[in-house]
């Protein structure tokens, strides 16, 4: 597994995420009026890996997320998402030049996320996300939440398919498939007993996990989690790690996450990207990043000259 290689060998000549990326961000910038929220950030996220984006408050992490998931249109830059396998740079350039939002490649397909509206990022490119401030359908039950997420797979034959209107057996089979998938995820997040309760009634930690399960019900290739451990107690946080690792293990889903909780980041991620003031300041394995003087300086808030001494202290 690529991830293992990364942890075994701290500095391989080519990184796993570079040889088989799922997401490639090139020179991404986002400006709001005069404010530069993200400034020329490039990074890749590896297929089948957990990639963490970290950085102090206001570093532009959520803005990067919103660009990837189509909620913001980046001012400049390119966001390539690869289905099947990485595309060559010639292929990426060809699709970019074509003016279309996606194109077929030798390995599968390439989507240019910055050209897709948000719902198509989810439905075509299959990028799912969760939100920093949980956004569940609070007045709908847990089960309903998971069924709404399967909207795409249930509406392939149209929003108002006659089979659905007439409740034909073919429709009932599909509906049952959807319920089964929902139950699979309910089981996985340990909320089987609360399927019929409104989502808004769940405790905070359960809501976080339900939101992840809901995102997974869309069968994404890339799952973007915006601070999944925020507000969780240590026990819930450990359960979350377990869930994320099992998603990576058992599903063909790569994970990109924003997180402040370093224990989560260090424990589950294969690759860490560090942002500060909208720019990337470090990029590497958790160990590399942990020891990077600029990262230490950024997190401890010291001047750059002092960073070396801080690093020495940390090492000691």
């Amino acid at each position: 597994m690529a991830a293992d290689a990364a942890t075994l060998d701290p500095a391989p000549p080519t990184r796993a995420w570079q040889s088989d990326p799922i997401l490639q961000a090139d020179h991404l910038s986002m400006r709001f009026g005069g404010l530069v929220a993200v400034n020329d950030v490039s990074f890749v996220a590896g297929r089948g890996e957990v990639t963490a984006v970290i950085g102090p408050n206001g570093a532009g992490k959520t803005t990067v997320f919103n660009c990837i998931t189509g909620f913001y249109k980046p001012t400049t830059g390119r966001l390539g998402l690869f289905h099947g396998g990485a595309a060559g740079s010639d292929e990426i350039d060809a699709v970019t030049a074509s003016g279309l939002s996606w194109g077929k490649t030798r390995a599968g397909a390439l989507y240019l996320l910055e050209r897709l509206p948000d719902h198509k990022v989810a439905s075509w490119a299959r990028v799912a996300r969760t939100f920093q401030n949980i956004r569940l359908f609070s007045g709908m039950t847990v089960l309903e939440n998971l069924l709404v997420a399967q909207h795409m797979s249930l509406t392939t034959s149209g929003l108002l398919s006659p089979a659905a209107i007439l409740n034909l057996p073919s429709w009932q089979r599909r509906q049952k498939g959807a319920v089964d998938r929902a139950l699979y995820w309910l089981h996985k997040i340990g909320l089987m007993g609360r399927a019929d309760d409104p989502a808004g009634d769940l405790p905070y930690g359960d809501q976080r996990r339900l939101e992840i399960a809901r995102a997974m019900c869309t069968e994404p290739v890339l799952l973007c989690l915006d601070e999944p451990a925020a507000g969780l107690n240590p026990r819930e946080s450990a359960a979350l790690n377990e869930l994320l690792l099992s998603i990576r293990r058992e599903h063909q889903t790569s994970i990109l996450l924003i997180e402040h909780d370093m224990s989560v980041v260090m424990e589950i991620s294969d690759h860490v990207v560090v942002l500060e003031y909208g720019s990337k300041i470090a990029d590497g394995t958790p160990d590399e990043v942990r020891n990077d003087p600029r990262v230490i300086a950024s997190y401890l808030g010291v001047e750059e000259e002092e960073a070396a001494s801080v690093e020495a202290e940390v090492q000691a």
């Binding site: 998931t69 189509g70 909620f71 948000d118 719902h119 198509k120 989810a122 439905s123 799912a128 996300r129 939100f131 956004r135 569940l136 359908f137 609070s138 007045g139 709908m140 039950t141 089960l143 309903e144 069924l147 709404v148 997420a149 399967q150 909207h151 795409m152 249930l154 509406t155 929003l159 108002l160 659905a164 209107i165 409740n167 319920v179 139950l183 399927a195 019929d196 309760d197 409104p198 808004g200 009634d201 809901r214 995102a215 869309t218």
Partner: protein, 493 residues
């Protein structure tokens, strides 16, 4: 001459009295209540003084003169003061145990849950039996006319409420111009059924009376589809707007359509409207006294009430269609997407739901049923004019949906019965004309809309979430549990 007090300080507003200590403060509580009563009485008097105390009276063609009614102002002020005094000391007392609100089911709520499965069959059964009950109660076919007509009238609003409920209650889109689709449906049928070329065309091919007999049944689906089409046309540009803005734009569209109906005289005959719309037929068989008429064919004695009762069942069928379609749609992905949209639009987009398309389907579906209802309206009254499609009409339909409790079909039906039925009953308060009450000059129908407006405010203040605030899930694993209204969102667009 008498006037109802209108600007009475709200019953629900907690009185601005300092909380009375629990014991031994009876006297000070009374003083405080008295104080409060005097203040509210004075405010009432001041508010009513200019427009109730004085009246600008037209005297022939001469200039206006003033007449005075200070006594009336005093009476209202006194009523308000006394009411408030009594209420402060009884219902609003601070040391009374507060009523449980959303937390925990009250006895009434538990009873409601128990009775819930029976409500729909009972309502539907009553709706079917209603015309026969009216005949029984009124003691004859002909004398039941008023009651059957009232039933038709109320059911039309039940249907309109259910139609708008799809847009407002399920999808959370605030539509203040729903009457536009009602108008489109009505005018579609009115224009097509009175169209001479169409009549000639069918007369040449399918018989002289074909179009007169069949026009409603052919135009009904067309009216709905055209209204839905207009829903899409109007919806497309406006659906990215949110909340109140959407409400205002839909209001504007409703008014534009009405103004166009008034001013496009060559097509719509302007404010004079379109008359002599052919009556409804029993699927091609006319309700007349001829040998081929409904009565003769079924061996009945001719009575114009046959048509009326048939109209009743047609609107009942249309309303049932609306209800069944809504129930079915809610269990389909599109219906779930509507409700999800109401709960959280951004989350919907993150799950790949095309929110514009989803909103359009809700708008169009609502418009479809509005169009059906419009065609029915036209065939019932056999006359359409822009007067019937004012903003007031939209407001009434929206009020039915909100008062009923958004999303709840039974709530909406109950609200329609209460509001429309109640408003109709107000027309007939002839006992108020008795000498000992208001005298024969009193015209109760004048007060109809006044009381209607007052009731709208009062019900909102009393139950902001409507009669039925909880939501029933569309699917369940073990147990179907109602979702408390406090958790259900109301939508932002």
């Amino acid at each position: 001459m008498a006037l109802p007090s209108v600007d009475v300080p709200a019953p629900s507003a907690p009185p601005p009295v300092p909380a009375a200590p629990a014991r031994g403060a009876r006297g000070s509580a009374v003083v405080a209540a008295l104080n409060d009563a005097v203040v509210s009485g004075l405010i009432t008097a001041l508010v009513l003084l200019p427009l109730v105390g004085f009246r600008a009276t037209e005297s022939g063609s001469g200039p206006l003169t003033l007449t005075y009614r200070f006594g009336l102002v005093a009476v209202f002020a006194a009523i308000v003061a006394i009411l408030r005094f009594v209420l402060t000391l009884t219902v609003w007392r601070r040391d009374r145990k507060p009523r449980a609100r959303t937390e925990g089911p009250t006895a009434a709520a538990r009873l409601g849950t128990l009775a819930a499965p029976a409500v729909k069959p009972v309502f539907f059964g009553f709706a079917i039996a209603y015309p026969f009950l009216s005949i029984l109660m009124a003691g004859g076919l002909s004398s039941s006319r008023y009651w059957v007509d009232l039933g038709i009238y109320v059911l039309t609003y039940v249907m309109l409420g259910w139609g708008l409920n799809i847009v407002v209650g399920l999808a959370g889109l605030l539509d203040l111009g729903y009457v536009a689709f009602y108008a489109v449906g009505a005018y579609t049928f009115a224009l097509l059924s009175t169209s001479v070329p169409l009549n000639d065309f069918f007369a040449g091919h399918l018989g002289e009376n074909f179009w007169t007999a069949w026009s409603f049944w052919i135009c009904l689906p067309l009216s709905g589809l055209l209204a839905a089409f207009w829903g899409v046309i109007l919806g497309f540009p406006v659906l990215r707007l949110r909340g109140d803005y959407l409400a205002i734009v839909t209001l504007a569209f409703g008014e534009i359509i009405r103004l166009v109906l008034i001013n496009w005289v060559s097509l719509t005959n302007g404010g004079a409207g379109i008359s002599s719309i052919p009556p409804i037929s029993f699927f091609g068989i006319p309700f007349d006294s001829s040998d081929t008429g409904f009565a003769a064919l079924f061996g009945l004695e001719f009575n114009s009430m046959h048509r009326m009762i048939f109209l009743y069942f047609v609107i009942l069928g249309l309303a049932a269609l609306t209800a069944l379609a809504t129930i079915r749609l809610r269990k389909m992905p599109v219906g779930r997407a509507w409700e999800a949209l109401r709960e959280d639009e951004i989350a919907c987009r993150s799950l790949g739901i095309n929110t514009t398309l989803t909103k359009l389907t809700a708008f169009a579906t609502g418009a479809l049923f509005g169009g059906f209802a419009g065609a029915f309206f036209a065939v019932r009254i056999r006359f359409v004019s822009p007067e019937s499609f004012t903003f007031m009409e939209s407001a009434v339909i929206l009020a039915i949906v909100v008062l009923g409790g958004m999303g709840s079909q039974m709530g909406v039906a109950a609200a329609a019965v209460l509001l429309i039925g109640g408003m109709e009953l107000l027309r007939n308060l002839s006992f108020l004309k008795a000498d000992f009450l208001f005298g024969p000059d009193f015209d109760p129908s004048l007060y109809r809309m006044l009381i209607f407006g007052f009731a709208m405010v009062a019900v909102m203040v009393w139950r902001p979430r409507g009669l039925v605030s909880s939501r029933m899930p569309t699917i369940f694993l073990k147990e179907r549990k109602a979702v408390s209204g406090a958790l259900v969102k109301e939508g932002h667009g």
